[in-house]
């Protein structure tokens, strides 16, 4: 309870403070406004990936890494497991959380749908960073159809 609340408030402050500015806009001056939050999440995910217990750390299968995210990483972050994991067995995975803790306090339904992506960027980076620590390059995006359920799509990059 205490730790979850502390993280929740801290995350809210980071979103409020850091969601807009991107010091490295890239070509055309178009700002990827959530990239700073994703970058923060990536580094936290990398570090958590190092700290969480791993069974047979070497030669870990891709699917095992995704299961690790759904169980151990999610439990450490949100004190629950991911609700669903689906894959096309070609490197694309969809992780579904029917009651994502960072969106629960926003209410249910479409009212704050527009603001929701700000609160998902950090977690996308977190998943990507943890996978990076486990040896996988990935692209993670999130989508919300109706609060507080959301889906994280993970595409493993072939190197």
């Amino acid at each position: 309870m205490a730790d979850a609340v502390l993280f929740e408030f801290l995350h809210t402050e980071m979103v409020a403070e850091l969601w807009a500015p991107d010091p490295d806009p890239g070509s055309g001056g178009k700002r990827r406004s959530l990239s700073v939050l994703e970058g923060l999440g990536f580094r936290v995910g990398q570090a958590l990936g190092e700290r969480l217990p791993l069974e047979t750390p070497a030669f870990r299968e891709e699917l095992d890494a995704l299961k690790f995210l759904c169980r151990d990483l999610w439990a450490a972050m949100f004190q629950k497991h991911m609700d669903g994991l689906r894959t096309n067995h070609q490197g694309t995975y969809v992780l579904q959380d029917n009651s994502f803790p960072l969106l629960v306090t926003m209410g249910s339904g479409p009212q704050y749908l527009e603001e929701a992506p700000k609160f998902l960027a950090f977690t996308c980076g977190l998943l990507c960073g943890a996978l990076h620590t486990l040896g996988f390059q990935s692209l993670v995006t999130a989508s919300v159809a109706s609060l507080p359920a959301c889906k994280f799509q993970v595409v493993i990059q072939k190197s």
Binding site: L10, E13, R43, A47, L48, R51, A76
Partner: protein, 158 residues
Amino acid sequence: MADEALFLLLHNEMVSGVYKSAEQGEVENGRCVTKLESMGFRVGQGLIERFTKDTARFKDELDIMKFICKDFWTTVFKKQIDNLRTNHQGIYVLQDNKFRLLIQLSAGKQYLEHASKYLAFTCGLIRGGLSNLGIKSIVTAEVSSMPACKFQVMIQKL
């Protein structure tokens, strides 16, 4: 272990994120420190709301300060404040001999000049917590030898 590390990791990212996104002159004029302190203030307010909803009303100012030193500090930093001193005229000094946000920096004086970046959020945390308990205060921090830290709380008369 992972749970303990989460707050430290987030705090690190917050500090570096605020400084990286600083605009011209913001570092020099103290704006970055203010941002971190303000963030801490709001988190402190929120935490107090959650933690004290089942607690009996505090009987006096010293009782509130003891709560900050024990329960509040343990919630955030996993240990109690090591020492609380007061002149009984509204000034309190909270000493943490191994402040958790400074342990990641080296012991000694090498990074002393950067320590204030890692204290601003916690100053705000204390001030925000006290604010929601009805106390208006000014909180400052100082480090003389890493990782020991003193937070000075000056209670404002309303």
